[in-house]
C-alpha cells in the first residue's frame, strides 16, 4: 500500500487506534470519548436491529478473532446453543503472549470503545452479564477500565434498560493473578471461576459449556473493540479492507531490533511484513541486518528475511509459510542475535508457564528448556537437535504447521515452535556448532557434566 499523501512508503489504516492516537491526552475519559469520538453512538443502531442481524453483520464482515487463533467471530457467536440461558460474554484481556502489547494499549487508552463493543456483542448474543478478564499486571489498564465502567453505568450505557432499549447488561471487571495460561480461553474460564487457570478438555467448547458450565463466548479485546466500527459502518465497509479471509485491520506490536518499536494498525493482506518492519517500524537498527523475525507471538514459528514481502494475510502465513500471525506480535532479531539463546529463552518461558495439567507439555516443556540451555551454553551434543525433534514429535505429531497436538491446549505445541524454527532455518549452523563444542570439550582434561 502507498501513502495517500503521495509521499510514498507504507502507512497505517487507523480504525480502532484512530481516536487514541488523536487525543493522547484524555482519550480514555468518557467526556473525550463522547465529545470527540461519538462513543456509544452505535448502541441505538444496534438496538434497532434484531440480535441475530447483528451476528449476521459480524459474520458478513469476516471479522476473525484477534487473540491468536483467528476464528471467525460471527461463526463463534452462532455456535451458542439456542435458548440455553444463562449465557455469558467474556472478554480476554489477559494478553500474555510475549511481546504483544496491543490490548494493553486499547484498555488504557480507549476503554469506552471496548465497552461499547461489549454492549453490542452482549446484545447480539443475548446475554445480560459480561466479564472482562484483565491480566494481573495491567494496573493502569484495570484502573482506567474500572473508571470507564463506572462512568458508563452512570451515563446509562451499562445496567438496566440501556438507552430505553429494554436491554440490560452488567459488566464485571475481573483481574487475573498473572499467568500466561489464563489467556487460553478455557484456562481463563477456570480462573474466572476462582480455580487454578488450567485449560479444559474440548468438547465441550466454551460456546456450549463455558464459565459455570453455561454457554460462554470468549473474545479478544481488539476483536470486541472492532465490533462497533462494523455495526456503525457496515460489514461491507469492513470487508472491503483486506483480502480473502483476512479482512479489515489488525494491530501489530513490533518489537526487537528495530528503530521504532510500537503498535501499528494496518490493513490486512494489503500490507507486507516489509511494510511493517522496514517501513512503519523504521527497519533494523542502524548498521545491522535482519537475521530472523517472529511473526505472531512466541508461539509462532520464525520467519526469515526472504519472507519479508509476504502479505499480512492469516491464511497465507499459515498455509504457505507454515507459521501464523497469532497475536500480531512481530519480534525482530538482527545479526547480533544467537538463535539458540532466543530459543532457550522462549523455551524457558513455556516451561515456566505450562500449567502442568497434561503430561506432554508438563514434562516436555521442561525437557526442551533443559536441552536448549545446554546447547546455547557450550554443552550441546551434535544429536541434540534431533533429540528435541524426536521427543517433540510426541507433543506435536508431525511437527508441521498448523500444529497437531497430543496436549489439552495449544501451549503444548507452542513449546516446539522455537525448536522447529531452529531446525528449519539454522540446522546446519547449529549442528556444526555443537560438533565444535563437542570437540572443544573433548580437549579439556576434565569434561564438565
Amino acid at each position: 500500500m502507498t501513502d495517500a499523501s503521495g509521499k510514498g512508503g507504507p502507512t497505517e489504516t487507523l480504525m480502532v487506534t484512530k481516536f487514541l492516537r488523536a487525543r493522547p491526552q484524555d482519550s480514555w475519559t468518557i467526556d473525550a470519548a463522547r465529545r470527540h469520538n461519538n462513543a456509544y453512538q452505535t448502541l441505538d443502531k444496534a438496538f434497532a436491529m434484531e440480535p441475530d442481524a447483528v451476528v449476521q453483520a459480524v459474520s458478513d464482515s469476516v471479522l476473525r478473532g484477534k487473540g491468536g487463533a483467528g476464528f471467525g467471530t460471527g461463526q463463534k457467536w452462532s455456535f451458542l446453543p439456542k435458548d440455553v440461558f444463562p449465557r455469558y460474554l467474556c472478554v480476554n484481556a489477559d494478553e500474555g503472549e510475549p511481546c504483544t502489547f496491543k490490548d494493553h494499549m486499547l484498555l488504557e487508552r480507549d476503554p469506552h470503545q471496548l465497552i461499547e463493543g461489549i454492549v453490542v456483542a452482549a446484545f447480539a448474543i443475548r446475554t445480560d452479564l459480561a466479564f472482562v478478564y484483565v491480566r494481573g499486571e495491567f494496573a493502569l489498564a484495570a484502573d482506567r477500565l474500572g473508571q470507564a465502567i463506572r462512568d458508563a453505568y452512570d451515563a446509562g450505557f451499562l445496567g438496566k434498560n440501556i438507552l430505553g432499549s429494554g436491554f440490560d447488561l452488567d459488566l464485571v471487571l475481573h483481574r487475573g493473578a498473572g499467568c500466561y495460561i489464563a489467556g487460553d480461553e478455557t484456562g481463563l474460564l477456570s480462573s474466572l471461576e476462582g480455580e487454578r487457570a488450567m485449560p479444559r478438555i474440548k468438547p465441550p467448547f466454551p460456546a456450549a459449556q463455558g464459565v459455570y458450565a453455561a454457554p460462554t463466548i470468549v473474545n479478544n479485546v481488539e476483536t470486541i473493540s472492532t465490533v462497533p466500527h462494523i455495526i456503525r459502518r457496515g460489514a461491507k465497509w469492513y470487508n472491503a479492507m483486506g483480502e480473502n479471509r483476512s479482512t479489515g485491520t489488525r494491530i501489530f506490536s513490533v518489537s526487537g531490533h528495530v528503530e521504532r518499536p510500537g503498535n501499528y494498525e494496518v490493513e490486512l493482506a494489503k500490507t507486507s511484513f516489509r511494510d511493517l518492519i522496514e517501513g512503519l517500524a523504521g527497519g533494523v537498527r542502524d548498521g545491522h541486518t535482519l537475521k530472523f523475525f517472529i511473526p505472531g507471538g512466541a508461539s509462532s514459528p520464525w520467519l526469515m528475511p526472504q519472507h519479508l514481502d509476504a502479505p499480512l494475510d492469516m491464511d497465507y502465513v499459515q498455509g504457505e509459510l507454515k507459521s501464523m500471525l497469532g497475536s500480531g506480535a512481530v519480534m525482530v532479531f538482527d545479526d547480533t542475535t544467537d538463535p539458540l539463546q532466543v530459543a532457550w529463552r522462549l523455551g524457558k518461558f513455556f516451561e515456566h508457564e505450562s500449567c502442568g495439567k497434561c503430561t506432554p507439555c508438563r514434562e516436555g516443556s521442561g525437557w526442551i528448556a533443559k536441552v536448549l540451555y545446554r546447547m546455547a551454553n557450550g554443552q550441546g551434543r551434535s544429536d541434540d537437535l534431533d533429540l528435541l525433534l524426536s521427543f517433540g514429535n510426541n507433543i506435536v505429531p508431525g511437527l508441521n504447521a498448523p500444529f497437531a497436538q497430543t496436549t489439552i491446549c495449544a501451549l503444548g505445541p507452542s513449546t516446539m515452535s522455537p525448536v522447529v524454527s531452529l531446525n528449519r532455518w539454522f540446522r546446519d549452523e547449529i549442528i556444526e556448532r555443537m560438533r565444535a563444542d563437542e570437540t572443544r570439550r573433548a580437549g579439556l582434561a576434565v569434561t564438565p557434566a
Binding site: S190, K357, T359, S365, W367, I408
Partner: protein, 896 residues
C-alpha cells in the same frame, strides 16, 4: 448409558460439565482394531474397548471417577478426526472406526511414557508399588526401553506425611489427579489438591489441614504409581509375596467386598473389590486398615477358667466342660429363665444361628439379645419392607432417620452422597444435629432430641404431594414431584441417649407411603445376621416370630421356649436383681457397648456365672467365670449378613495362632455337652442347615453362596433375579483398577467370558417359598410421650464415632492413634450462656450419673442440646444414660 451427555471432570472446576453425545440409536456400531462391536450410545470409548477385549492403556481414567483427560496415555486414532483423540473422554458414535495399535498411536504411547519417566525417580526396588505398578507394567508393554533424558530430575523431599495414614512421595507422582478427584468427587473431602505449576506441579494439602478423610486409603489403592503409600502397609510386603482371598469387610454392617492379602501368615492389606451393588470398589479407612488387631498380642489364644478366684489358662475340653457345667448348674437352680445370652452382633451367621439354637432349642431360654440397648426393636428391623443399597440410586427420595452415616456406616455414606450429589436423588435429612450428609440434603428438618415425630409427619405429607405450610415441605414436594421409584428411608438409632420408641414412631409415620422401603442403619458388622438368625427375644431364625415358627422349629429342633423373653435392658435388669443368674456374652462387652453402663455394671456384678466368648480380655471377660476365645475375621470361612439382608462370604486368609476355636463350634460343643449333638462338621453344613430351617434363608445354601458373585439378598424369593454368577466383565485386575468380584466357585455358566453373558442373572436360581410366613412389622406404636423441653437443662445426643473404643481400633496401632478423648460438644450460644470455654472441664450430671469432660464448641449441635460420642474410651455418655427414660436431660456445672 444412553444419555445425551456424559458427566466429566473439567478439573479444576466444581461445576457440572458434560461431554456431549451425538444423538443416534441406543446401540451404535463401532469398529475397534478391525472388530465391529455393538455398544450402548454414550459409552466412553476406553470402556467400550475394554469390554470388548481391547485394553487401552491409561493412568488418569478410572471407571468410578469422571474422565479428566490429563495423562494423555489413552490416545487413539479415530478415522475422520484430525490427530489423536483421548479415548477416555470420547463417547462412542455410530460408525466410528478406531485404531488403538497404529503407528501413530504406539509412537504417542511410547512418547507419553518417556515423558512420565523423565522425572520419575525409578526407585522401584524400594517402592511399595514395585511389582504391581501400572507405570512399570505399561512401560514394559507400551514404553521405550531406554531413557534419553540426561539432565537432573525434579527433586522433592520424600516422602511427606499428608495424614496419619497416608504418605506422599511427590517425586513418584505422575499428576494423574486420581487421588484429588476421588477426594473431591467421591468422598466429598476435597482436602488434597494440586499446587505449583508445570513440572513442579505437586499434590498438596492445605495449610494446617491434613488429608483427614475416613476414605483416604482409597487414594492409595487407585494411585497408579507408588506416590501415595499407606503408613500401616509401607515396606511390609512385596506384591509378589502376597496371597489374596476375597472376603467382606468386618468393620461395619455394609460388609464391603474386599480382597484380603497376607504374607507370612499375617494380614497386611485389604483392597476394595468393586461389587456394584455394595461398595463399588471403595472401603473406609477403618475397614481397610483394621487388620493388625487380628495379630495383636492382646488377643486371647487359650481358653481360661476361673479357679480359686483367678482366671487361669485351660484346655478347650476343660473350659467347655466348665462352661457347660456352670450352665447346667444354673438350669438346675433357676430353670431356663435363669440364663441369658447377650451379643452376637459382631460374629458371623453360622455362630449366630447356633447360639440361637443352643439358647432357644437346647437351654429353652428366650432371654437372648444381640443388641445391647443400642439398636432398634427386632420387630421393626425384621418386619419392615427392606430396601437394597442399589435402591438408593433410583429412589424417588431418600429420607434419613439415622445417625451420622459418615461415622457409622462410611461406605453407605458414599453411596447416599453419590445418589444425592451425582444422581440427583432428593435427600431429606431429619435429625437433631448436622452431620456428614447434611450438605447434600434437599430438605433439612431439625427436631429436639427424642421428638422426631412431627418432622417425620411433615416428610410423610410432603412425599404424597402435600407441602403443608412449611418451606421444607414445599422443597420436598418440588424435588420429588414427578419422580418415580421407591422412597428409601434409612432408619437407625439417631441417638442412644433417647428411647428407640421415638424413632420407631417417626418411622411408623412413613410406612403408609407408596413404595416405601427401609434400609437399616444399624452398624455392628453382623447385627442383621444375628437378628435374622434369632438372637433376639420373641423370634426364631429366619425372620419368624416365636409363635409363628413354633411348630416348624419344634419339628426341626425338638423344642422352643414357651414365652417371649426379655430384651437386653430386661436381661440386664433381671441379672442385677438376681433373677437371671448366668450370662453368656457372645463377643460383646456390655460395659463398653451398652449405652447404660450403670445397668451393665450392676448386672455383671450380680451374675453368678458369666461365660465370655471373647477374643480380647475386655472388662466383661475380666470378670468372667469362663473365657472362650474364638477365631476371628480373616481366620475362618463363614458368611455375614449386611444391612440390606445380603448374605456374603467371609474368607479365611490366615491360620490362627494359639488355640482358638472356630466361633460356630463353641455353641455346638456346648450343646453336645448339654446333651444335644447338632451333628455339624463343617461350616457348609451349618449353612445348609440354615437354608433348610430358617425360613428367610430358604434356598440360600452353601452351594449358592459360593456361586453368587455379590452375595444373596434375603429372602431369595424376592431377590432371585439379582443374583449373578460367573466372573464380572473382562477387567485388567491389578489393584489400581477396579478389582472385579469373582465367586468362590465359578459355575457352569461361566464358559463365555463376555460381560453381558456373565452379568445376566441366572434364571435358574431356585427360590423356594419360605415354609413359614416371614414376620411383618405392621403395628405402628402409639406416639410415645416426650417430656417438655426443660429450659435449664440440655438434652443429650449420643452417637458413635468411626474410631471408637472397639477392639478393631484399640488393638490396631494405626487406628488407635485416631481416636479422640470424649468431649462435651456445645453450641456456641449454650457455651456462652454457661460461661465456659473450649477445653474447660465441666461436670455433667443426669438423673443416672455424672462425668467430667472438656467442653468443645460444636457448630453442628443446635442450641439446647449437647453432643457426646457414645463409644469413646473412659467415662462418658454411657455413664449418663438411662435405657428406660425417653430422653437424657443433663446439667452442666463448672469445676475448678
Amino acid at each position: 448409558m444412553t444419555t445425551n451427555a456424559v458427566p466429566m471432570s473439567q478439573w479444576p472446576s466444581e461445576h457440572r460439565y458434560t461431554i456431549p453425545v451425538a444423538p443416534g440409536p441406543e446401540t451404535v456400531t463401532v469398529t475397534i482394531d478391525g472388530r465391529a462391536a455393538q455398544i450402548p450410545r454414550g459409552e466412553l470409548l476406553i470402556k467400550a474397548a475394554q469390554d470388548h477385549g481391547t485394553y487401552i492403556p491409561r493412568f488418569c481414567w478410572h471407571e468410578r471417577l469422571k474422565p479428566v483427560g490429563m495423562c494423555r496415555m489413552c490416545l487413539v486414532e479415530i478415522e475422520g478426526m484430525r490427530g489423536l483423540q483421548i479415548s477416555c473422554a470420547t463417547p462412542v458414535a455410530d460408525g466410528m472406526v478406531v485404531h488403538t495399535t497404529s503407528d501413530a498411536v504406539t509412537t504417542a504411547q511410547d512418547g507419553i511414557l518417556e515423558f512420565l519417566l523423565i522425572n520419575h525417580p525409578l526407585d522401584c526396588p524400594v517402592c511399595d508399588r514395585g511389582g504391581e505398578c501400572p507405570l512399570q507394567d505399561q512401560t514394559l508393554a507400551f514404553g521405550p526401553g531406554e531413557s534419553r533424558f540426561v539432565e537432573e530430575k525434579r527433586h522433592f523431599e520424600k516422602p511427606v506425611p499428608i495424614s496419619d495414614l497416608v504418605m506422599l512421595d511427590r517425586e513418584r507422582c505422575i499428576q494423574c489427579g486420581r487421588c484429588t478427584r476421588f477426594a473431591d468427587e467421591v468422598a466429598g473431602d476435597p482436602l488434597i489438591d494440586f499446587g505449583g505449576r508445570g513440572g513442579s506441579t505437586e499434590v498438596i494439602t492445605y495449610l494446617d489441614e491434613p488429608f483427614h478423610s475416613s476414605f483416604s486409603g482409597n487414594t492409595v489403592q487407585i494411585c497408579p504409581v507408588g506416590a501415595l503409600t499407606a503408613r500401616p502397609y509401607r515396606f511390609r510386603a512385596r506384591p509378589w509375596d502376597l496371597a489374596s482371598t476375597e472376603t467382606s469387610c468386618g468393620a461395619c454392617a455394609v460388609a464391603c467386598r474386599g480382597s484380603l492379602e497376607s504374607t507370612s501368615n499375617r494380614l497386611v492389606r485389604l483392597l476394595g473389590v468393586d461389587s456394584e451393588p455394595v461398595n463399588q470398589g471403595w472401603l473406609c479407612d477403618k475397614g481397610r486398615y483394621g487388620l493388625d488387631w487380628v495379630h495383636s498380642d492382646a488377643r486371647l489364644r487359650q481358653p481360661m477358667v476361673r479357679r480359686a478366684g483367678e482366671l487361669v489358662e485351660s484346655s478347650w475340653p476343660d473350659a467347655l466342660d466348665a462352661a457347660a457345667a456352670a450352665i447346667r448348674n444354673t438350669l438346675d437352680t433357676h430353670g431356663p429363665n435363669g440364663i441369658a445370652v447377650l451379643g452376637g452382633s459382631r460374629g458371623v451367621n453360622e455362630d449366630a444361628y447356633l447360639w440361637a439354637r443352643l439358647a432357644k432349642g437346647v437351654l429353652g431360654t428366650d432371654h437372648v439379645d444381640a443388641q445391647l440397648g443400642d439398636g432398634l426393636p427386632a420387630d421393626v428391623v425384621l418386619g419392615m419392607p427392606r430396601a437394597t443399597i442399589p435402591d438408593l440410586d433410583r429412589a424417588k427420595a431418600i429420607v434419613l432417620l439415622a445417625p451420622d452415616l459418615k461415622e457409622e456406616l462410611p461406605v453407605l455414606y458414599l453411596r447416599v452422597r453419590r445418589a444425592a450429589h451425582d444422581l440427583g436423588v432428593p435427600l431429606v435429612d431429619v435429625a437433631v444435629r448436622d452431620h456428614g450428609l447434611t450438605p447434600y440434603a434437599t430438605a433439612v428438618l431439625r427436631h429436639a432430641p427424642g421428638d422426631p415425630g412431627a418432622a417425620a409427619g411433615v416428610v410423610a405429607d410432603a412425599l404424597v404431594g402435600r407441602p403443608g405450610r412449611t418451606k421444607v415441605g414445599k422443597a420436598i414436594v418440588d424435588a420429588t414431584d414427578g419422580r418415580d421409584g421407591p422412597v428409601v428411608v434409612i432408619l437407625g438409632r439417631t441417638s442412644v441417649a433417647e428411647h428407640p420408641d421415638a424413632i420407631v414412631h417417626a418411622a411408623s409415620r412413613l410406612t403408609g407411603l407408596p413404595q416405601v422401603r427401609f434400609l437399616s442403619a444399624l452398624a455392628n458388622p453382623n447385627v442383621h445376621g444375628a437378628l435374622d438368625l434369632g438372637l433376639t427375644p420373641g423370634f426364631l431364625p429366619g425372620r419368624v416370630s416365636l409363635d409363628a415358627g413354633r411348630d416348624h422349629f419344634t419339628k426341626a429342633w425338638g423344642a422352643v421356649p414357651d414365652a417371649v423373653g426379655r430384651d437386653a435392658a430386661g436381661i440386664l435388669r433381671a441379672a442385677a436383681t438376681g433373677e437371671i443368674a448366668a450370662l453368656v456374652l457372645v463377643g460383646c462387652d456390655p460395659l463398653a457397648e451398652c449405652p447404660d453402663r450403670n445397668l451393665a455394671r450392676a448386672a455383671l456384678e450380680q451374675a453368678d456365672t458369666v461365660i465370655a466368648v471373647s477374643a480380647f480380655m475386655d472388662t466383661a471377660a475380666f470378670g468372667a467365670t469362663v473365657v472362650l476365645p474364638p477365631t476371628v475375621w480373616g481366620e475362618q470361612s463363614a458368611t455375614t449378613t449386611n444391612l440390606e439382608g445380603r448374605v456374603v462370604r467371609l474368607g479365611r486368609r490366615v491360620t490362627p495362632d494359639g488355640s482358638t476355636l472356630e466361633s460356630w463350634r463353641i455353641p455346638a460343643e456346648l450343646a453336645a455337652r448339654l446333651g444335644s449333638d447338632f451333628d455339624l462338621e463343617t461350616v457348609d453344613e451349618v449353612q445348609d442347615e440354615i437354608a433348610r430351617v430358617a425360613p428367610a434363608f430358604a434356598g440360600v445354601d452353601a452351594s449358592l453362596l459360593r456361586r453368587a458373585r455379590d452375595g444373596v439378598v434375603l429372602p431369595l424369593a424376592d431377590h432371585a433375579d439379582e443374583v449373578t454368577f460367573g466372573r464380572a466383565g473382562a477387567g485388567p485386575g491389578p489393584s489400581w483398577e477396579p478389582i472385579l468380584p469373582v465367586p468362590e466357585v465359578v459355575g457352569d455358566d461361566d464358559r463365555s467370558p463376555s460381560t453381558s453373558a456373565s452379568d445376566s442373572p441366572s434364571a435358574a436360581v431356585p427360590a423356594p417359598t419360605p415354609p413359614v410366613p416371614l414376620h411383618r412389622w405392621d403395628a405402628p406404636p402409639d406416639a410415645p410421650s416426650v417430656p417438655p423441653l426443660d429450659a435449664y437443662a440440655l438434652r443429650l445426643v449420643a452417637g458413635h464415632a468411626l474410631y471408637g473404643a472397639d477392639a478393631i481400633v484399640a488393638a490396631t496401632p494405626a487406628l488407635a492413634s485416631l481416636t479422640h478423648e470424649p468431649t462435651l460438644g456445645l453450641n456456641a450460644r449454650d457455651r456462652d450462656r454457661l460461661g465456659v470455654h473450649d477445653g474447660d472441664r465441666v461436670r455433667i450430671t443426669t438423673a443416672r450419673g455424672s462425668v467430667d469432660l472438656a467442653v468443645r464448641t460444636d457448630a453442628q449441635t443446635p442450641p439446647g442440646t449437647a453432643w457426646i460420642v457414645a463409644n469413646a474410651a473412659g467415662p462418658g455418655a454411657p455413664d449418663l444414660i438411662d435405657l428406660t427414660s425417653p430422653v437424657t436431660e443433663l446439667r452442666v456445672e463448672t469445676i475448678s
